[in-house]
Subunit: 125 residues, 2 copies
């Protein structure tokens, strides 16, 4: 039986989040067994925050949760791809639609992409 | 100046590969500074193979290289998204278009997606 390989990444697997409708890649986060379980139970994406060292429901502060539409595992069993509906239209805490809004142009990273909300209004800071 | 954060992942960053035309997510690999440099110089995607512990040019055996079209960095500077033209039409060594060909259905992983080539013909095994 095919299973997710949590051991390879010391209990964590990278999870690619893609917009189910536009196919835009929105972000990459990490899950442990617990966040994977919670994601399935709630149908909303849950992660493990490496920087904060604790579980994290995407959108718990902003309200911009991610509704699970489809889940895929890769051939090695060590990466997940989840297609979601992004509530609020934007994933990034900076207000951009995607976290991948820095484009490589002539050796530099230039801001690219659409700003959907003002972080000050959403997070109050 | 914005730079890639190689330190967070002990010298490696995850790299999402997306088909520039179809927007399908094809695979996730890892790069170190050297593979990032080589990718820019050759305009073909190079990785660091964690399982083999050595550099790896995607498609070096099969001929199914990935031509770089666009490169994005995420807001934390710790993940890359590269849009590519997939030579040969398929990314996965199993012959499927995408490495993410296992779909989560009623608690199980079911094969999904299109098989483009026969691995035996391409790899001779």
């Amino acid at each position: 039986m095919i299973e997710i390989d949590f051991e390879k990444g010391n209990g964590l697997i990278p999870v690619i989040i893609q917009d189910a409708l536009t196919h835009e890649v929105l972000m990459l986060g990490y899950m442990n067994r617990e966040s994977w379980q919670k994601t399935q139970e709630t149908n909303k994406v849950s992660f493990w925050s490496r920087s904060k060292g604790k579980p994290w429901v995407k959108g718990e502060t902003s309200g911009h949760t991610q509704e699970v539409k489809d889940i895929y595992l890769d051939c090695d069993g060590d990466t997940l791809l989840i297609k979601v509906t992004q509530i609020g239209g934007a994933t990034c805490h900076t207000g951009y639609r995607s976290c991948f809004h820095l484009r490589h142009e002539e050796g530099e990273w230039k801001i690219s992409g659409e700003k959907i909300f003002d972080p000050k209004e959403v997070y109050g800071r």
